[in-house]
Amino acid sequence: MKRMLLFTMIGVLSLGAPLYAATCFYQPGNNNDSGDNFYGPSMCNQPFIDAVWEHFDFDKGDWDDGFGWDEACNVDQPLARTFNALYLLAYSAEDYATSTSDFSGNALRWAYPYSASNIDELDGRCGSGDKNTGARATTYRGPTVDDRTVLKWPFFYGEVVVQRAGTILHEARHAAGKSHNGGSGCPRGKSCDTNWAYQGANMYQVLYLWWFRVDGTRTTSAMKNWARSEAQNIIDRGFNTNPGYVIP
């Protein structure tokens, strides 16, 4: 059911008149399909929320006014959907990392510590306010900007939980200073990396999804199959030189 989101962005001109105002609406769709109902009960515990709040430097001001700060377990709202992705990112390895400074093991294990170490803060915004329009996430980094990763409507409502987890790791790679270097030279024509050896965001995302497919736990077979499909799609369409990998 579509519900009105209370979040309203209002800028004020020096004269005091509104510069702009925008209201966005929740678009949860089917929370069984997206996996949010599956992960929600596990995610919804205070110690976990406290931990991710600190690791990703969440701020109340970026997640209140309808984004979920006061309803952190409501999976219709952006914050809980982000927590679900972080839960999947943190706990999908059987022997998951228990410290954000532990990078041992495979991508399934180091994805969460890597993301927590490289993303300066996670913010929620409406963006376009439509799950099919605009960027899902944008990472800002540099000497003259506030380093941050901003998650938007297509992230919250256009991706299933495992896709969101892959997106967070992808953005973490950008936050670490690795931009796409392939221009529009890959089959999908955007966000291309030249090749696997570049070790860009596409490679990191593929590795996570691939290991999730192979060894992911505390999940569903549908999430694992979808992860395989997503990873294979990036292999085939996200590199200027196809690495030639086929995921079984």
């Binding site: 990078f103 329009t133 299933v160 294979q232 990998y245």
Partner: protein
């Protein structure tokens, strides 16, 4: 479910038709279920879907995400349904797969090639199918005529420090 395969297949196809185009996971999941059911009754539907053109881009203004990617994934899943039906010795499914082995999208043609190859029930039959494929494919695609897959452990990984301390510069809070 298999005991009622024709009825289940009809229901799944009907549900697919009622699903909004931008519900990619639902569409994909319906096809995955069709693959598991593997009923011959799905043949014309998935053959049509797998060769249908990719619709115009629906995701506007996202530098990272594309509806074309989602549509390709859905068509690949449709080809997997064809392959599952072909594995039961259904010749029409073989023919549908062969029509896709020169598809413009690499993922679609690879899935069709592997599906056709895998439908051979003996190594001799697979070898014969390999010859059929060689006659149809350009030499540049001969490498796709295989059922080999990649072990993720053999793929180059980035070097990670076993341990490292997070050091962040102090930052103003909101």
């Amino acid at each position: 479910m298999r005991a009622r395969a024709p009825e289940v297949t009809r229901g799944l196809i009907e549900s697919y038709g009622k699903t909004a185009p931008d519900r990619y996971f639902r569409r994909w999941a319906l096809l995955e279920t069709l693959r598991e059911v593997s009923d011959k009754g799905a043949l014309s539907f998935v053959a049509r879907l797998s060769s249908s053109p990719i619709p115009p881009e629906r995701i506007k203004g996202d530098p990272e995400r594309s509806s074309a990617d989602e549509e390709v994934r859905i068509r690949i899943k449709a080809v997997e349904v064809l392959a599952a039906v072909a594995s039961q010795g259904v010749q029409e499914a073989d023919e549908a797969l062969l029509r896709l082995v020169r598809h413009a999208d690499r993922g679609i043609r690879r899935t069709a090639i592997r599906g056709y190859l895998a439908a051979g029930r003996s190594s001799e039959e697979q070898a014969r199918r390999g010859e059929v494929l060689r006659k149809r494919l350009p030499k540049t695609d001969y490498g796709l005529i295989t059922l080999d897959a990649t072990d993720v452990k053999q793929v180059p990984h980035p070097a990670m420090p076993e341990k490292f301390d997070i050091k962040r510069a102090p930052r103003a809070k909101n």
